[in-house]
């Protein structure tokens, strides 16, 4: 019986995921922001400054940008994709429609998050393929550890996204909040503009952003450098995940 119920909820999840994923693909916004943009920025950086060393460090701009651009894929889906989709569903009373069925918030949110994971992974693959095959990027560090750090950062950022989704009562509010969270993180964390180019003072300010720490971790692993304060960053990521997941349990509203 327990197995049967487990099977039923898996079937629920997969069906919701399948339909929501199809809807996501019919609307190109997420592919443009989540996949097109990081690949575009990668091409620009590689063409303009690919082999130059970045701001007095020992690695090239391309090496520096790779990890950051992997993070852009995560952020676009975490900070834009999830909150905007959920706020839109709340505005249109689609969540209300789910409320009057036996669907749990968990099942629905899992399906929406899974769509974002798919976009982020697609973005990661696209960035990797273009970097490796077009610009001969080779990762110095361990790809396995890099994937682990990528998944850790993804989990933390998605829990922030789900938390924001609970907070945004309408699409208007979601637009304001996601813009306020996404763009500073995008520009200040080194995800688009290499962190090394920032003046010292700005680097300090930007270091406060969780994404900056996440990118630092991914970047140093991708370079094969010893990660400074790795334990601290890992604890921070886990703490963000736990806190935001707990908070979103309380902030989730059907309408």
């Amino acid at each position: 019986m327990a197995y049967e119920r487990g099977g039923e909820s898996m079937k629920r999840f997969w069906t919701l995921y399948k339909v929501e994923q199809k809807l996501g693909l019919r609307c190109p916004d997420m592919l443009i922001f989540g996949v097109g943009m990081p690949v575009g920025v990668l091409v620009l950086i590689a063409v303009v400054a690919g082999n130059k060393t970045a701001g007095g460090s020992s690695y090239t701009f391309l090496q520096s940008a790779f990890a950051s651009l992997m993070a852009v894929g995560i952020c676009a889906s975490a900070f834009m994709g999830i909150p905007l989709t959920v706020a839109d569903y709340r505005d249109k009373k689609i969540l209300k429609h789910f409320f009057v069925t036996p669907c749990t918030p968990m099942t629905l949110m899992s399906a929406i998050v899974a769509c974002s994971v798919a976009t982020a992974v697609l973005s990661g693959i696209a960035v990797s393929v273009v970097a490796a095959f077009v610009f001969q990027y080779r990762m110095k560090g361990s790809p396995f550890l890099f994937i682990c750090s990528y998944l850790l950062v993804m989990t933390a950022m998605y829990s922030i996204g789900v938390f924001l989704a609970g907070l945004c009562k309408s699409v208007k509010m979601a637009n304001v909040i996601t813009t306020a969270v996404y763009f500073p993180m995008l520009f200040l964390s080194g995800a688009t503009i290499p962190f090394e180019l920032f003046p010292k003072g700005m680097q300090t300010v930007a270091s406060v952003l969780p994404l900056t720490q996440g990118i630092k971790l991914m970047k140093q692993i991708s370079m094969g450098d010893p990660v400074e304060n790795a334990a601290g960053i890992i604890i921070l990521m886990i703490a963000i995940t736990v806190i935001c997941s707990l908070l979103s349990k309380f902030t989730f509203r059907w309408e």
């Binding site: 629920r12 339909v19 199809k22 809807l23 839109d88 009373k93 429609h97």
Partner: protein
């Protein structure tokens, strides 16, 4: 034609007995306010099994809020609501396995197709009806691959009835199902509701069309500003007034205070 709605056995569920009739829904002194405005004001009523119960009132009388508070979507300030013998707030998942709800002016996800929304809703229930059959019964099967956005108003309302029937419900809530439909589409929806009623499904509906209430409802409750105005069978409500039709009787009841 609508025999698939009832898989049988619905009487096996515990239903509270009261004066030898089975109750499907019992609402006591339900009250809900928003920012100091009382939208539902100490409303009490009972819905019996297998009847069509109509909640009537002008726009803004509190009809939708009543439904949403009864179902636990909005938290009641005071009073109680029981649906199929349970508190919907405490037993949300169990209750919604057994009832179907059509909400006022439903919207659907962008780009979603008719078949996809049916598939999505079906999978949420343990024992859903076959939605292909329902689409066929409502003459919507040719739209299965079409985006919901492309449906006409009538087709869309029929789709929302299909969705409300997917759980094989013992009780359906229909909130202003026919508002905005043309006469023909409205009549068509009525026919489907009558067939549904004949099969023993309990229906709770809200409307501001008197013709609709006259043609469908066994009992009606008139509300104004969230308060009960009068209640009874259509005949009783008409007989209580100096008129011989529900529309005039309705207006007469609604003017109650000015009259006095």
């Amino acid at each position: 034609m609508l025999d698939s709605y009832l898989t049988g056995g619905y009487t096996m569920f515990p239903v509270r007995r009261n004066e030898s009739m089975k109750l499907c829904m019992e609402v006591n002194q339900l009250t809900k306010s928003f920012r100091g405005r009382t939208v539902v004001d100490h409303l009490s009523f009972r819905v019996k099994e297998q009847e069509v119960f109509g909640l009537l009132g002008p726009n803004g009388a509190g009809k939708s809020t009543t439904i949403e508070t009864v179902l636990g979507l909005k938290k009641a300030d005071s009073g109680t609501a029981e649906v199929l013998g349970c508190d919907p707030v405490k037993k949300r998942r169990e209750i919604f396995e057994r009832i179907g709800v059509q909400l006022q002016s439903s919207h659907y996800q962008n780009y979603i197709r008719v078949g996809e929304i049916c598939e999505e809703m079906s999978v949420l229930y343990s024992h859903p009806a076959d939605y292909h059959k329902l689409l066929r019964q409502f003459k919507l099967e040719q739209f299965e691959k079409q985006p919901v956005d492309k449906l006409s108003g009538g087709e869309r309302q029929k789709l929302s009835v299909v969705l409300a029937l997917i759980p094989n419900p013992e009780l359906v809530f229909l909130d202003e199902l026919t508002t905005g439909l043309d006469t023909e589409a409205r009549r068509e929806v009525w026919q489907t509701l009558k067939a549904l009623k004949e099969k023993g499904t309990t229906i709770f509906l809200t409307t501001h069309y008197m013709e609709e209430a006259e043609s469908l409802c066994d009992r009606i409750l008139l509300i104004k500003d969230g308060k009960k105005v009068t209640q009874g069978t259509v005949k009783e409500v008409v007989d209580d007034s100096p008129f011989d039709n529900l529309e005039d009787a309705y207006l007469w009841h609604m003017r109650g205070e000015e009259r006095a």
